[in-house]
Amino acid sequence: MDSLAIGALRRRTVLRAGAGLAAASALPFGWSHPAAAAEPAMGTWPAGSSGDTVYVGITVPRTGTYAVQGEDELKGYMLAVEHINAGDPLIRAMSPRTTKGVLGKKVAYVVADSEAKPNTAVQAQSRFISENKVILMTGSTSSAVAVALNKLAQREKVLYVAGISGSNDTTGKDCVRYGFRQCFYGQTAAAALSPVLIKNLGKNKKVAYLTPDYTYGHTVQKSMEEYLKAGGWTTVTDQVAPLGAADYSSYLLNISNSGADVLVNINFGHDAVLSIQQARQFGILGKQTLIVPYQTPFLARDVGADLMAGVYAATDFWWTIQDAYPLAKMFVASFEKKFGYKPEWGAENAYMQFALWAGAVEAAGTFYPPAVIKSYEEGRHTPSLVGDVWWRGADHQLVHPVFIVRGRKAADMKSPDDYYEVLETVPGEGVMQAPDAFGCKLGPYT
């Protein structure tokens, strides 16, 4: 034991003795020295997995404009936890070594309202780490939160699997060794969607963009512009609107007067709903084809089938793909049975993140974080809700397909939830950039 822990200062000579140092967490008042944490004890390990139960910390927005997406996501996590503890066949299909729980321990979750704010999310997860010794963190409906939790994960040496996060940066320049993202993002959405658009709508179209004024918006806009060039599509205007703008009239007037054939609406969440509703009021939807590169969960339910008819979108998951994917069918059925509606992609993403995590831990045979990370990084192919998937070791992004959908006319809908027809399933590996193209440097294991 470090006898100098009674004071705030430590002798360097002692530090150099490194190997003999006790775990930082064992010191009185938690005096710690991350650089000296050469011993195996790290983050919440082994404290977090020494009992019968392991905890995961979930932060999703339950108030504010993303609350709907947040609650959906939370339901996905809840179902996954239930299935993991019960050893449900669906989980066992994705994590073959699972019996009940993870490595024989029961999984429990703690949840807090992130208000969609990075600060609140980080504070809540920090609390979970120190209070509940969570061994896994999750949840986000925006990249701001995902990136913030990425950094927290790396600092605290506790795994984080992102929820919804569309920015290239999450597994690009802001990637970390301790963070993993499953869902699709700006680059893959643009790369998957553009060829389909050119194929369906023809060449040499004039495009107007409605872009939310933040990093995610600008990157998606640039990616779309880049990929649409292949079909000779040109940008006539890029209307940048602040996040959370309520009234889009002035932007929409500019778009309406721009002579564009196509409107690419990059807004997410409530902003997407409002801007689409208002675009209809301005008579734009009749004249211009609407394209939503990054589909917001609940968008179709929110704006209604008549507005979504003919709209092109890229998405991570739409429930009707279950016809092609048996595991998706099982998932949709269990989810609907428990919660009474068809899951959106936030819930699907949440469920899969937990299932894949359980698989990675079981494969590692330990909760020791570096071992779990290495298990992820093996590039093991796994059956999943959307077919065969695997993690890229170099940037911690899941390789999985992107679905291109088009809104159905109300008359063509076979059931009340049948908003989209799936036009194409674009395999993930073809549309993903090289792992280092966005500046990803994963950082250390310890």
């Binding site: 404009t65 609350a67 009239s249 932007y251 007037l253 709903v273 409002l274 509703q277 301005f282 008579g283």
Partner: protein
């Protein structure tokens, strides 16, 4: 994108959104002018009005009825809030009143969230005002033209109430000299209740009228509140004509600057506010020495 048709479109659009802002701001100004209370719950009342209209619309199926019922509901809400809470605060400092209305605003927002959830709710425009109206080279949503008309009529009615009735006389006396109202020998309690009700109604009414344009969420009011403040600061606190002028100025700024660089239109609003504060601190139509 500065083209002649687009310019004209944006001027018209500025007028339409400005008129609505003017209506909301006049409610804030009337309350402040008469009661001396800055209502930070004004944004929440705008939002609540929208939800009241939504409920009434789905109960009756009639848009006009929804507007009337919603507006009356807001008068009652305003009067009750005044009677139960605001009244205790007239002889307390301005700061306490501000804190109180700030708290009331939060409670209203969270109550609505509890009751209606966070999913957006929309009220369709009445059938006769759906679709678009071609106006020469300008195509504009019919309902927004209706909003402009409604806001104009509402402002005119407010003007009549303020300048042609006994209640209006009292309110204006209050705006010009808050000490004077007490000397007129009027049942102040009832007048104040009514005035707060009318102020809340102005916000709530705007909220209902706006519901088919911007669909409802509990957080709808916060950005409107900030814009309302800017309007009032530009126009002059406690000045009814100032609220109207300020609203129109703000609407035009938001619309016209979007042609140059839409990302900056919101910031331009604050730049103009700062300019007004530096050059004419009492606001364009404000009286020096007040507030």
């Amino acid at each position: 994108m500065i083209t002649w048709p687009n310019f004209v479109s944006q001027v018209f659009n500025g007028l339409a959104s400005g008129a609505l802002l003017a209506l909301i701001s006049s409610g804030l100004t009337i309350i402040y002018g008469t009661l001396g209370v800055l209502n930070l719950a004004h944004g929440a009342m705008f939002m609540l009005g929208g939800y009241a209209g939504y409920v009434a619309y789905h109960a009756t199926g009639s848009f006009l009825l929804a507007v009337v019922v919603g507006a009356l509901f807001m008068v009652v809400v305003g009067a009750v809030v005044e009677r139960v809470l605001i009244r205790r605060f007239y002889d307390r400092p301005h700061e306490d009143q501000i804190l109180l209305t700030f708290g009331i605003g939060i409670v209203i927002v969270e109550l609505v969230r509890l009751g209606f959830g966070s999913l957006t709710l929309s009220v369709p425009p009445p059938a006769w005002a759906a679709g678009v109206t071609p106006m020469g080279f300008l195509i504009y949503p019919t309902y927004r033209i209706v909003v402009l008309a409604i806001a104009g009529v509402a402002l005119a009615l407010l003007y009549l109430v303020l300048y042609r009735t006994r209640l209006g006389m009292i309110v204006r006396a209050g705006i010009e000299d808050s000490g004077m109202v007490g000397m007129l020998g009027i049942n102040i309690d009832r007048v104040f209740m009514l005035v707060f009700g009318i102020g809340a109604m102005a916000a709530g009414f705007a909220g209902i009228v706006n519901a088919p344009v911007v669909s409802l969420t509990p957080d709808l009011g916060s950005s409107i509140l900030v814009q309302t403040f800017v309007v009032v600061v530009i126009g002059g606190v406690g000045s009814f004509p100032g609220a109207i002028l300020g609203g129109l100025v703000a609407g035009e700024i938001l619309s016209l600057t979007s042609m140059v660089d839409p990302a900056y239109s919101e910031v331009m609003l604050f730049v103009v506010m700062t300019l007004v504060l530096v050059l004419r601190p009492q606001g364009l139509l404000g009286v020096p020495g007040r507030a």
